[in-house]
């Protein structure tokens, strides 16, 4: 169901000046004094029907000119009630403290650490307020406006963080075979960039600590130093398994802010290519999680469809992985003449590969024994941790941005949201396999509908480059062309949170513009960030080999996790 943007009644029991209402472009916004934050949060989550059970995102913004320099922005959603709410809490520079919300939403844990790392704000009551993305020798807070984007600090080996996770006091741990092991960051099972330090009691993990940030590439700071259009290649590299969806997510956010209407042809192509990207992402995820559990053959079977989808993306955009095919206002180039034909050919070949994998795996007892009941989590807890996407749907919560908050053409096609109830590795696998089929269903319907005629990008010289022939011949178009490239698109001041269903959950972009040619602040809501923050909780009590399998099933993509 579409988000309700109707103003929510302000809770009455708080002092009058502690909450102020702002009409957001996209959702209601409240400015909240930090003193009442925890009480307010509890009240907001209280109602079982319409309570805001999901903390989508938490981020900081720096306004050096304001009296209260920082602002912490919370994005809340109510999965059952369909509401959305944005809370803004101003924080002064000389007393940068606000209460932690970790008791209300467990998912706030890593988000608060990130704000601490990036802005230096302290969250009172947070049990482990350490840097999360940058390294231990880092000084300063990089997303503050006065931090030089290129200022680096060197980390040497002796300064590296060496955690010693302690099991809780009441654990049945007789210290008999206790041992602490370090996995990663360069370990094949950790997919390159994660690090888990686990304290083992025999073979069982009794406590663990997850360390990330090994691929923190400063996306958000880079976005502030480039023009709106130049950010698109950076978004490719967030979730690099399905880069096109990131392109769409970002462009949609900016387009809403600009209030431009994307031509139907571009919308149609965006929907189809997003679905193909999703197929690709699920193939990679399932393939590599099967490799982690020893089923190597499936990797080859699942990587072949991906290779063929790359062919389609290359035909459109010229690159296989980092496509950058969207532009603000449409697409970078018109669809190739054989676009439909290629899509149809793909629709014929992909199911065969998926069938093969299903036959090999789905009721294979060896795999079932490794996957059923592993890293299980119930729906309610998963929501509290901030999960979205296929992993959440495997835990029995029926939420999909494409259906509940439809964008592009998703409300005009007929498809189902697969939901499973095991909440474990096995059901995450099955959700993905079913979603691949649903995606193909969507694509087939759109193809049958036929490619809409018309332009592939808006005809607005303030947003999109004029067509080359026009630019060569007309002085006016030439001037627009020149201005757009030199100064970038002028996005009117404002803010927007806009979400698409990424391959592993709700991929949101919170975009702030101050009216200049560059973004003031872009915050990505990375779907796997809250999911991975649960990892410790998921693997404690299991064995190391279970931990390896569960990481593969979560589909954590480092580029998006750490940006």
């Amino acid at each position: 169901m579409p988000t309700t943007t109707a103003p929510l009644p302000l809770p009455e029991r708080f002092p009058a000046d502690s909450i102020q209402l702002r009409e957001g472009l996209d959702q209601p916004t409240w400015i909240v004094r930090r003193e009442i934050l925890v009480d307010l949060a509890r009240e907001l989550t209280a109602d079982p029907e319409t309570g805001f059970d999901l903390l989508l995102d938490l981020c900081g913004v720096d306004y050096p000119d304001r009296e209260e320099r920082f602002e912490v922005v919370y994005h809340l959603a109510s999965l059952r009630g369909g509401g959305r709410l944005r809370l803004k809490v101003p924080v002064p520079e000389d007393d940068p403290v606000l209460p932690s919300l970790i008791d209300v939403w467990k998912g706030a844990d890593w988000f608060e650490r990130e704000v601490y790392d990036m802005f230096g704000l302290h969250f009172e009551g947070h049990p482990n307020l350490r840097r999360i993305l940058t390294h231990e020798a880092f000084q300063g807070h990089p997303l503050r406006k006065d931090y030089d984007p290129a200022r680096r600090w060197i980390l040497t080996e002796d300064k590296m963080y060496r955690p010693q996770p302690e099991p809780p006091m009441d654990a049945e741990d007789d210290m008999f075979e206790r041992m602490t092991i370090n996995i990663g960051p360069s370990h094949p099972a950790m997919h390159g960039t994660f690090r888990v330090v686990a304290t083992l009691d025999g073979e069982i993990i009794s406590a663990s600590e997850v360390e990330i940030g090994y691929l923190h590439r400063c996306f958000e700071k880079m976005a502030e130093t480039h023009t709106w259009q130049q950010v698109i290649p950076y978004t490719d590299r967030l979730n690099y398994c399905s880069s096109f969806i990131n392109n769409v997510g970002y462009c949609r956010a900016v387009e809403t802010l600009l209030n431009v209407e994307v031509p139907p042809r571009a919308v149609w192509a965006r929907t189809i290519l997003s679905e193909f990207s999703r197929v690709m992402d699920h193939c990679v995820c399932n393939g590599s999680s099967l490799v982690d559990s020893g089923a190597l053959t499936n990797f080859w079977y699942l990587f072949q469809p991906r290779e063929e989808i790359y062919g389609l993306l290359e035909a459109c955009s010229g690159a296989r992985l980092t496509v950058s095919y969207c532009r603000i206002g449409g697409l970078a180039a018109d669809l190739p003449p054989d676009f439909e034909a290629r899509c149809r050919a793909l629709l014929e070949t992909i199911p065969a590969f998926i069938d093969d994998v299903e036959k090999l795996i789905v009721s294979n007892r060896i795999w079932l024994d490794r996957a059923v009941g592993i890293a299980a989590i119930g729906g309610e807890e998963a929501v509290n941790w901030g999960w979205t996407g296929p992993c959440l749907r495997a835990s029995g919560v029926d939420y999909d941005v494409r259906r509940d908050n439809p964008y592009d053409l998703y409300d005009t096609v007929d498809w189902d949201v697969p939901v499973f109830h095991g909440g474990d590795v096995h059901d995450r696998f099955r959700v993905r396999i079913s979603e691949i089929r649903e995606s193909l269903k969507i694509i087939r319907q759109l193809l049958d509908r036929g490619m809409p005629e018309g332009p592939f990008i808006v005809d607005d010289p303030h947003v999109a480059l004029p067509p080359k022939e026009v630019a060569y011949n007309q002085m006016e178009a030439m001037i627009y062309h020149f201005k757009l490239i030199m100064d970038g698109i002028q996005v009117p001041p404002g803010e927007i949170y806009s979400a698409v269903e990424g391959a592993n959950g709700e991929l949101g972009f919170y975009v702030l513009s101050d009216g200049s040619g560059k973004p003031y602040r872009i915050k990505v809501r990375p779907p796997c960030f809250p999911i991975f923050s649960t990892f410790s909780r998921l693997i404690n009590g299991g064995t190391i080999s279970d931990a390896v399998v569960s990481l593969g099933g979560l589909n954590v993509i480092a580029g998006e996790l750490e940006r």
Binding site: L133, T134, H135, F138, P142, Y147, D148, P149, A150, R151, R152, W153, I154, L155, T156, E157, M160, P185, S186, H187, P188, G192, T193, G213, Y214, L215, H216, R217, C218, K221, M222, P233, Y234, R237, Y240, C241, V284, F299, W300, F303, Q304, E307, Y310, R320, L321, T322, A558, G559
Partner: protein
């Protein structure tokens, strides 16, 4: 004397031939480039055709390190350590803009090229390099190693001749 050196040089040649035709790569993959690296080893491009399929995740067993992906300052000590753990002779292929130079991340947490820390033999540009590009890079590395061995052998020969000459003169 002569017999011994003949045996050893022939054996050396055999060893070099073997090594050159079966690199054991260590993929140090961190980001998007690692995904393309997977393409190189999967069926479509299949690096095994060159004898380079024994992808080892243990630095102790490999001789070519393929750095695929962005290396951040946080990762740098780890990469250095892994490089140090590799036995000699060892080579480094730097795959992709990020590993080569930092790419478009001129940023506070990204190394501006892994050659700040470890020597690089071949740089493969691209973002990510296409699988063919990486294979081309690896084949270039092979040629480079062959060239270097030839040069080295020549030098050694000259040196031996020199030594012999000086011995004879004495």
């Amino acid at each position: 004397m002569i017999g011994e050196s003949w045996v050893t040089t022939t054996f050396e040649k055999l060893e070099e031939w073997g090594r050159n035709n079966s690199f054991w790569p260590l993929p140090f993959g961190t980001a998007c480039c690692a995904i393309e690296f997977m393409s190189v080893v999967s069926s479509h491009y299949d690096m095994a055709r060159f004898g380079y399929e024994v992808v080892r995740f243990s630095p102790r067993q490999s001789d070519v390190m393929i750095v695929a992906g962005t290396i951040t300052d946080k990762m740098a000590p780890v990469m250095k350590k892994i490089y140090d753990q590799m036995p000699d002779p060892k080579w480094v292929v730097s795959m992709g803009a990020c590993a080569c130079s930092g790419g478009f991340y001129r940023a506070y947490h990204v190394m501006q090229g892994i050659d700040e820390l470890i020597p690089v033999d071949v740089y493969v540009p691209g973002c990510p390099p296409s699988p063919e590009g990486l294979m081309y890079g690896i084949l270039q590395l092979k040629e480079k190693i062959e060239r270097d061995t030839k040069k080295r052998r020549k030098r050694e020969k000259a040196k031996r001749a020199d030594d012999d000459g000086s011995v004879a003169a004495a």
